[in-house]
Symmetry: C2
Subunit: 384 residues, 2 copies
């Protein structure tokens, strides 16, 4: 596509446009919810909006999800929770990193539900409940194989043996986290589920949560009572072994700043790492690694201009990249036109593979210089 | 270092601290200016603050540089220029991507100096000067080997043959850009300089600029009249073949969220890619790839805790990373303490090398969730 569908929203000076489709994100949430409820059970489908909604904007994303019926949102820390609470006063906001020491009263005042990751977290949250003289809700995280956050086996057994440690708290749920649900047929998910269930059998009853994006598409046993998709909401394929069941949620367009006719033997970019083998037409695009178009794409990326593929040539610069656009019709190859860097013609997961990483990192690495255009449930607005 | 030097500025809930030393940046600018003037000529030393001051904050950085005597600042586009103009009403602000069609009058009204990259840029900027009936300053960019932006050989010859194309403009300078000044002894810099000088000899007289950070340290002939360091200001080594002449400008500290004792054979993180070979103490730190600690560091990074090296184990998560902290004294290994991810113990360029990239990309990839603490010339403030 050589032009944007929403020219009136894009300032002439904007070098790049990040268009975020909130209807697609809300639609993805419905697909995930319906899939989680495929057995007829009322499994709750939360939304993970940490890391600023995987780079796409936690507030607009969560607002769109709330409009679709989502009631529980996971964020990483107090700062993210505070931002979300201001936008969604009635939502359940769960804080994955737990209550940092010294922040417990602020978390309680904001009505947040921390994920308690250790016996110490539990003790401090419980002390806060006692001091405030009211029950406080908590999710409790039991580690079953990530060794990252959560009670270890000994901690969980200790808690099961002494439920008085929870007096004053309202256990809103038990959670654990799968290490490799994205790998179909991986035996580890079943092992982790077995460990999780063994703990659950010893602990007070409360809803349980294990599956994130990929887990929703694996064995129904993993679904438990609440699922917490993140990446799939934003269009990352939760089933890498099969076609992507999710709709793309973003399009990244970069402005063509200049078109150059170069002879054979011309070098391009830093280090002169690329040399043309024939006369070529190059386009210089106003997106670079400072915008999150990773430097690793210098040897492997491509974009499309008017639907025609144009390979990245030479190294990615901080604010610029060059492509060989020789095959693009000249009438489409003009300064001011846009190239598609991510979108329907350039799926997010393909860009990630070219960069040697995963779609998650491309999303959260997206820069701040883009003109952001939200389409869909959120009031349409451009943020240059 | 197990604690921060400025605890009163860091909120208890902050998972990470990015401390930016503006005195070091101003000091680096003085070193670069003095080195550029080592032959006794009054070479001007500008400051490149595009990409939000290489991720460290364009306004605080430029304010500190202005205090040190810097008068000219390079940014990428109109949006960055507008932000800088508001903070520094009297500075010369040069816009590398030139005047996008339709933004010429806004650029003129803000008193910006665009870098004109093509005959079309020159014609549009000149038409603006004619319409406003006043001369407009311009830097003109001649490409000598990057094939990215700037007049090509034919365009520069065309301009030399018809200087009337510049009527109404005040040529504030001619510039070109070196492709590989960071490689000592690379013959390309001299070739580019020769091409640049051949064009200069045919064009109207104005100050010339060729060298950026690394060029300042190469042949004195490259210095011309104005140098434009960027990366070196922020502590990137401009002479990779030799010890770094620049002072480190930032320190990135990540909070320890949890300490875990694990047996031999424990797996860590997504994909269970790491397995302990002996009993170990792991620390989980509240920084992940969403914060710009690249996923590529999962197999190769390390941090320091209380000055003791701790290797990253397993994959980097979006918001978390795990290290083997077995060798760290237990009294220093407590939740709430900080690990150093970048800083005096972990130089920026070393972290970049571990990630398979360059310091520039680490800088511009730094995330937004950090509590930013500015030390030095800028009024001290924390931005949680």
């Amino acid at each position: 596509m050589s032009s944007v569908d929403f020219p009136s929203q894009v300032p002439a000076g904007a070098g790049a446009v990040l268009a975020i489709d909130l209807d697609a994100i809300a639609g993805n949430w419905r697909v995930l919810r319906d899939h989680a409820q495929r057995s007829g059970r009322a499994v709750e489908c939360a939304g993970v909006v940490k890391a600023d909604g995987y780079g796409l904007g936690a507030v607009p994303v969560a607002t769109a999800l709330a409009g679709a019926g989502c009631r529980s949102f996971f964020v990483a820390d107090l700062e993210e929770a505070t931002t979300l609470r201001a936008a969604l006063p009635d939502a359940r906001v769960l804080v994955l990193h737990g209550p940092a020491a010294g922040t417990e009263r602020e978390m309680a005042a904001l009505g947040l539900t921390p994920v308690l990751n250790s016996l110490d977290d539990i003790a401090r949250w419980r002390a806060t409940a006692v001091a405030l003289d009211r029950p406080l809700a908590a999710y409790i995280h039991i580690d079953t194989g990530m060794n990252r956050l959560g009670l270890d086996d000994r901690g969980a057994r200790h808690l099961a043996a002494d439920p008085a440690l929870l007096t004053g708290l309202t256990p809103a749920g038990w959670m654990s986290h799968l290490a490799s649900a994205d790998v179909a047929g991986d035996g580890l998910a079943a092992e982790q589920d077995a460990r999780f269930r063994a703990h659950l059998a010893r602990l007070p009853g409360a809803p349980a949560s294990l599956a994130a994006s990929s887990g929703i598409f694996r064995e129904p046993a993993l679904l438990h009572d609440l699922v917490r998709p993140g990446a799939a909401l934003y269009g990352v394929n939760p089933t890498p072994e099969a076609p992507n069941p999710m709709a793309p949620a973003l399009r990244l367009l970069g402005r063509i700043l200049q078109v150059r006719e170069v002879p054979a033997g011309a070098t391009v970019g830093y280090g002169a790492t690329y040399r043309t083998t024939a006369p070529a037409r190059l386009a210089t695009i106003a997106v670079g690694y400072a915008d999150g178009y990773f430097r690793a794409l210098g040897s492997s990326g491509h974009v499309t201009i008017a639907g025609v593929r144009a390979s990245v040539v030479g190294r990615i610069s901080m604010d610029l990249l060059s492509v060989d656009a020789t095959r693009v019709p000249p009438e489409a190859l003009v300064p001011g036109a846009f190239a598609e860097l991510i979108g329907p013609d350039r799926p997010l997961d393909d860009v990630a593979a070219d960069a040697g990483t995963i779609g998650y990192e491309i999303l959260t690495g997206l820069g701040r210089r883009f003109c952001r255009v939200y389409q869909g449930a959120w009031p349409v607005a451009a943020h240059p």
